[in-house]
């Protein structure tokens, strides 16, 4: 049996009267690419923040890589990577400096750091840009760099919050190549997206509506379950019933 790396049980987050995430229960297996879908405001980011230890759940259980989200947040942080919706590298540092900084704080020794950073710059094709400020890179490259940096410490799981927002289709394709490469190395990918073509790339997806998980299966199974041609139709079918207004 595959090892389970993310496990949640009735995980809930309330902000006052508002229930942002409502009793969600799911498992993610090691090495899986798990798509976390839902309309804007459905509660995806809040759920993800809980899983990353950025936000404390109101109730329910969750463990990430075997660590509890209430008691072992610091251990979780050593074992995950995270790429937030907002671009989160330092724009006023160069490519090489960003790699060095994040590698350093994840505890890579200087030897390792040098090798890693060279490897990364090479595989991203950024040799000529490595001493340029990140601010001067095109968005697509920034996103690819941010992803590579988020897995610099070879985490067990990486959380990607809409990593390809605002990026052109070619770059998105390249971005997914990076995700596949990481997945092949055994890193579990937990990704939110609005692009339904990207949903197709996932091994399994869950659909979140109004804070609840309405459906969860492989893309193929979901399509046949809703007798839909594409993931777009599945999304419309499920999201139509949403009460919350998109923000």
């Amino acid at each position: 049996m595959d090892k389970i790396v993310i496990k949640t049980d009735n995980l809930t987050k309330r902000f006052g009267d508002f229930i942002a995430v409502d009793t969600i229960t799911f498992d993610v297996k090691e090495g899986e690419i798990f798509g976390f879908l839902g309309a804007n405001g459905a509660g995806k980011t809040t759920a993800m923040r809980m899983l990353c230890g950025l936000s404390i759940p109101s109730s329910g259980e969750a463990s990430i890589g075997g660590f509890d989200v209430y008691r072992e947040r610091e251990k979780i942080k050593k074992n995950i990577g995270y790429m937030s919706q907002k671009f989160s590298l330092y724009e006023d540092l160069t490519v090489a400096e960003n790699i060095r900084f994040f590698g350093g704080i994840y505890g890579l020794d200087s030897q390792n750091l040098k090798i890693k950073s060279q490897e990364m710059i090479q595989s991203l094709g950024l040799e000529s840009q490595k001493n340029k400020l990140v601010a001067s890179l095109p968005l697509g490259w920034k996103q690819k760099l941010a992803f590579s940096v988020s897995i610099i410490h070879e985490p067990k799981i990486v959380f990607l919050d809409e990593p390809t927002g605002g990026v052109d289709p070619v770059t998105r394709r390249q971005f997914w190549d990076l995700i596949y490469t990481a997945s092949e190395r055994g890193i579990t990918i937990f990704v939110t997206t609005h692009y339904m073509d990207e949903a197709e790339y996932c091994n399994r997806i869950s659909m979140m509506v109004d804070g609840k998980i309405k459906a969860m299966d492989s893309p193929a199974n979901l399509k046949s379950q809703f007798s839909a041609e594409s993931m777009d139709e599945v999304f419309f079918e499920l999201a139509r019933g949403a009460q919350r207004k998109a923000d």
């Binding site: 950025l54 942080k77 995950i80 995270y82 989160s88 540092l93 350093g104 704080i105």
Partner: protein, 373 residues
């Protein structure tokens, strides 16, 4: 602790790469230190005086020349009509009117007494007060001279007189700059420290990078130290530039007391101050908010610190505020050590209070800084 190394490297790189921040940190304090002490001078000169002289006697002229040669007054109007002089006040061309009555000389000689009339434009209270006081002093001196001329000591003993000889300790020439420069230096270090520190942290919130930091294994205290240490160093550098280059070379102020003592106090003061900056940043979401709050806090800190107005003359409630203001203590220590040469024993109380401030603000800030929500 290796995390701290990486954080500090990053922080210094970012600060030194910021083309708008760097001049603000290093050039602005020097310019301010050059300009402000020259302007913030309480010694009032060039008080415009209108003199209405109805007497036009040798004595009245003697008095007038005594007044104009004192260096404090500028004769803006001389005439015989009080109304014309009053017009000058209304037009704001004159600050004071001195009216010398008819028969000033005659009455002074014959009846040994005469009354002069002084009218003061009290819109600028400080100027009016000081102007009135200077004028009375000059008239008093004039009076004493006249007395000596007319009452010959041989006839009978002169009335006993008290002659006050005063000496200004610790600032013998009453050079106002000696008093202001150390205070303004505190003001600058305070501005640079608290502003820069709070803005820097809030910027990470605004851009979103703090989120990325929060998912890393960086400990809360490491992040905070990584933010405080650079600004602590910058504060010390700014202070040194001010003390050694501007104060010493330009104003010729050489601390009488121990420089080590000053730096010791500065070190603790900066910790307290950066704690305030950190605290502001934990309550703000945007740089604009942080800026506004920091501005408010700094205004109170500076105006209630005894930098411009003596604390002793504040009302009781204001004194209480000043007592809870870290800036007050640093300004006191600066003036005590630089001008008076006070030693550690004299400022032990200040050290203790400042250490308490440092502990208080930083504990509050750290408790309020959350990696999780």
């Amino acid at each position: 602790m290796s995390n701290l190394k990486f954080l500090l490297q990053k922080e210094f790189k970012q600060i030194f790469r910021n083309k708008s921040l760097l001049p603000l940190i290093f050039v602005m304090p020097i310019i301010q230190l050059l300009v402000m002490p020259l302007a913030a001078d309480y010694e009032i000169k060039n008080i415009n005086i209108s003199i209405v002289d109805h007497d036009k006697s040798p004595y009245s002229r003697l008095l007038i020349s005594k007044i104009t040669s004192s260096g404090y007054f500028k004769l803006s109007d001389y005439g015989e009509s009080f109304k014309a002089a009053y017009d000058q006040i209304e037009k704001d061309k004159s600050d004071l009117i001195l009216e010398i009555p008819v028969d000033f000389e005659k009455n002074l000689v014959r009846e040994n007494s005469e009354t002069l009339f002084i009218a003061v434009n009290a819109i600028n209270g400080t100027k009016a007060n000081l102007g009135g006081a200077y004028l009375q002093q000059i008239i008093g001196e004039f009076n004493a001279e006249v007395l000596l001329q007319w009452i010959s000591p041989t006839r009978y003993n002169p009335s006993p007189q008290i002659d006050v000889a005063s000496s200004n300790w610790f600032n013998p020439t009453m050079n106002y700059r000696f008093f202001m420069v150390p205070g303004i230096l505190v003001f600058l270090v305070t501005m640079v420290g608290a502003y820069m520190c709070s803005l820097n942290i809030v910027k990470e919130k605004e851009v979103g990078t703090i989120e990325q930091i929060n998912v890393t294994p960086i400990k809360k205290h490491e992040f905070i130290l990584g933010k405080l240490i650079p600004f602590w160093v910058i504060g010390i550098v700014v202070f040194s530039i001010g003390l050694f280059f501007v104060a010493r070379l330009i104003y010729g102020i050489v601390p009488v007391g121990s420089i080590l003592l000053l730096y010791g106090f500065l070190a603790i003061y900066l910790i307290a101050l950066l704690g305030v900056g950190l605290l502001i940043s934990t309550y703000s979401e945007t740089q604009q908010q942080a800026m506004s709050v920091a501005f408010f806090v700094m205004m109170i800190f500076l105006l209630m610190s005894g930098l411009f107005t003596p604390i002793e003359s504040m009302p009781t409630w204001a004194k209480t505020i000043a007592e809870f203001n870290p800036v007050t203590y640093f300004i006191e220590v600066m003036r005590m050590v630089i001008l008076k040469g006070s030693g550690f024993m004299d400022v032990t109380k200040h050290f203790k209070i400042m250490a308490a401030f440092a502990l208080f603000f930083n504990t509050w800030a750290i408790l309020n800084y959350r990696k999780t929500s």
